[in-house]
């Protein structure tokens, strides 16, 4: 159902994208409660800015951008609460946690990556976004996204490469 402004009515947006937003935020945050909170916040933010959404652009990418930013805020506050280094892409270089697991799961792979590396991997490999789309969402040049992906790939290979072969 589409309104006069060319956008779907908001109830239809909630129906269509709740699972999508939850899936993205769950993958970024790694637990159900945070994902539920982030999903709800995402739709509240979307609701408040809905009139400004450009109907000619991808609504899904717009929603995804809000979801990623919301999840990133959660990651930041989680780090603050844990008393660790503030989340920042410049500070997250080379950051790979080093739990020793023997059974490889997607959750473990994602969890082992910090900050923007995690976001880039989730969006590129799991949500099928292109480098260009990720760059637009994250407001970074495409080359930066490629660097994130390259480093994330190297980290994952160093950590899990042998387990996967």
């Amino acid at each position: 159902m589409t309104g006069e402004d060319g956008l779907p009515v908001f109830s239809a947006v909630v129906d269509e994208y709740t699972d999508y937003v939850y899936s993205v935020t769950y993958r970024l945050l790694g637990n159900a409660q945070d994902a539920e909170d982030a999903t709800q916040e995402t739709f509240l933010k979307l609701y408040k800015t809905y009139e400004r959404v450009n109907p000619d652009k991808s609504l899904k990418n717009w929603i995804c951008t809000i979801a990623v930013n919301t999840a990133r805020d959660h990651l930041r506050s989680r780090r603050r609460e844990a008393g660790t280094v503030a989340f920042d892409e410049e500070l997250s270089h080379g950051a790979v946690r080093n739990p020793v697991e023997t059974v490889l799961t997607v959750e473990q792979m994602i969890e082992s990556l910090e900050g923007n590396y995690r976001i880039a991997v989730v969006l590129f490999y799991m949500e099928d976004k292109t480098v260009k789309e990720i760059a637009e969402m994250m407001q970074r040049p495409q080359v930066v996204v490629k660097v994130w992906l390259h480093r994330a790939r190297r980290m994952l290979l160093e950590k899990y490469g042998r387990a996967s072969s």
Partner: protein, 205 residues
């Protein structure tokens, strides 16, 4: 091509896009060939992960939160925000509700169970013709938009009915058919913007 550049092109090779000759490099480099096999497996693991499904009640929680934000935005139920139905429509709805309530009390024992008396207060009576439906629930501000608190009862003729005591005042509600489809109360002509771009049924009791 050196190993570093080759490894940066692994994803391109996996996607069938290899303008810089990563495949050629792998042919002659055992270390990169091994890395590529490992990455292929990891990338496959990532790409094949199914989406995570949201809990079933999350949509209701979102609707509730957005409706609340909408109400705070407009501060009060504004009559000017009811364009599809003129003021007489509201009066008519009130009459419909009152008449239905009166009918309910006068009709005596029948196939439909007794009215739900959750609390003292005026009765909101809903009666809809949905012979194909399996369940019909009413959710509104009077029950916290709970979709499993109040179900209409089905008569032998396929009509769904419920009479529910609600606090006196203005209320918004919707019917949830088969747990999946939200519909306006067809017996109530009053529609109120729900803040989502759609409408709720509205009634004053």
């Amino acid at each position: 091509m050196n190993c570093r550049k080759a490894r940066a092109g692994f994803d391109g090779l996996l996607g069938g896009n290899d303008p810089h000759g990563v495949a050629d490099h792998i042919q002659g480099c055992a270390a990169c060939a091994e890395r590529f096999v490992q990455w292929k497996a990891l990338a496959q693991t990532l790409r094949s992960a199914p989406p995570v499904k949201a809990p079933p009640d999350l949509k209701v929680a979102i609707r509730r939160a957005v409706a609340e934000a909408s109400r705070q935005g407009r501060k009060a139920w504004s009559w000017s925000l009811v364009p599809p139905v003129p003021v007489w429509g509201f009066a008519m709805a009130a009459l419909v509700v009152m008449a239905a309530g009166g009918w309910w009390f006068m009709r005596g024992p029948a196939t439909v169970p007794a009215p739900v008396a959750t609390d003292s207060g005026p009765l909101l009576t809903i009666e809809v013709e949905l012979p194909q439906a399996s369940t019909v629930a009413v959710a509104g501000d009077f029950n916290g938009w709970n979709t499993s608190a109040h179900f209409l009862k089905r008569s032998e003729t396929g009509r769904w009915m419920l009479s529910l005591a609600v606090p006196r005042g203005v209320h918004e509600y919707l019917l949830l058919v088969d747990g999946t489809t939200w519909v306006l109360d067809p017996g109530n002509p009053v529609r109120v913007p729900d803040g989502f771009g759609g409408y709720n049924s509205g009634v004053e009791l």
